[in-house]
Subunit: 140 residues, 4 copies
């Protein structure tokens, strides 16, 4: 039998709070999704003005980061034409996201969940996702 650490709903709310604070600071209304370590949704918020397409994309970024235990941004590099993971962006019915903005949440060396953002530029999405993680880690 295995024992697995997983974000609680309280943890997920802290991730969203930290990401939302940063989104407000930079003035970009975001879709923010948090999944557990298996990529299953725990919590989600669309800030007023967040994009409709981002309701799905944010969830899929978190799913990808949790499931593959890596940032979606890292897949962007690995999936360029000529690179080994080229074409992986359409895997899993298109759920595998290779655009920045999905980050695994790592606690004591273990992936315990992930956060995914969408609505800004990929760089903004990543920045806010990281702010969520920093906020959570400061509370643990």
């Amino acid at each position: 039998m295995l024992t697995v650490k997983r974000l609680s709903l309280t943890d997920a709310r802290l991730l969203i709070e930290g990401a939302r604070n940063k989104a407000e600071e930079i003035g970009v209304p975001m879709c923010i999704a948090v999944t557990d370590e298996s990529g299953q949704l725990i919590a989600f918020e669309r800030m007023d003005g967040g994009k409709i397409t981002s309701t799905i994309i944010a969830q899929d970024k978190a799913y990808t980061a949790a499931g593959a235990k890596r940032t979606t941004e890292s897949y962007g590099a690995a999936s360029q034409p000529g690179s080994p993971a080229y074409g992986i962006n359409s895997a899993i019915g298109g759920r595998l996201m290779v655009v920045a903005g999905g980050l695994p949440v790592i606690v004591e060396g273990e992936v315990v969940g992930a956060i995914g953002l969408s609505s800004g530029t990929p760089a903004q999405d990543s920045e806010c996702a990281q702010a969520g993680i920093t906020h959570l880690l400061s509370k643990l």
Copy 2:
């Protein structure tokens, strides 16, 4: 041009809060989803212990209630064998839910969004969804 009223994120949080309070009271950890009047997700929470399958089902109940402007329970009756809507449960790739637990949120006669719950019995899901709506309406 039309003008449409829609739940804000603040409203969605109140819906979730009311539903969650009732869920805690009856001791059933729930998945709670709130969509806007177009069925697009605004907010979601999976209480610790909520079911994995319910992460999707709760969202689809809210989508159905918002999109069809009726309770998912009413579809349950209408889709029984021999009834006019028989078979509609598999429509929209299976997203159209005919099990109780999805309620439209109606303000001044207009559907402004919906709330969907899943993890309990359909009756419990509905009861908690209604509690969310009652809570929101008491704050408006």
Copy 3:
């Protein structure tokens, strides 16, 4: 509670009329889709001779332009290899379109819907979509 402006069916017909006029002028039978600001279909016409695959693509172009509040053409540039949104074309089950021909309809600074065309070259699709918007705006 939020208040949202949205295309009416009358508006949608004007968008299609303007696009169709241009399509006839250039001699390309088009599929023309109009969605509301949430990406949900309001009106659709396949001109006699329009392509079958375009019935879906036109809808998805409009969905993308409305949902992401930008032209699908802009995604084409942003999603080239090496660019930040590389790989986004397969998001949302492949519904996110990065080929030109989908334009948001913006009235008084707000996205109120979108128009998507398909059957011509991407440049022709865009030209006709723009003609639809110009036609609508001239009537408001």
Copy 4:
């Protein structure tokens, strides 16, 4: 942070071994799937002669039993016409299975995964799934 118990691959193999032994005994080549507590696949075997359609159905039975923390057979009863969960069989894109053969694996009161079988009659599928669980529990 939550702590979750989950089947290991060793556990999953024992589940399959027990199910396969029973399948051989009754002379029905089976598809046997084991998922973790989140419904994600850990191990799968199609015995020579197992049905093609069952490769998917066995997985979805295990997914359902793990995700909903109940047997798929119990959904069969609850989803009969006139019953509260009527119509739920098409939920989650049709992945939610209400045919017998999917059982949650419960250890010390917690769902730690699930086993799903398909290729026989539903009663045979269930019988072999239960044999897998009995075999695992005898080894823990």
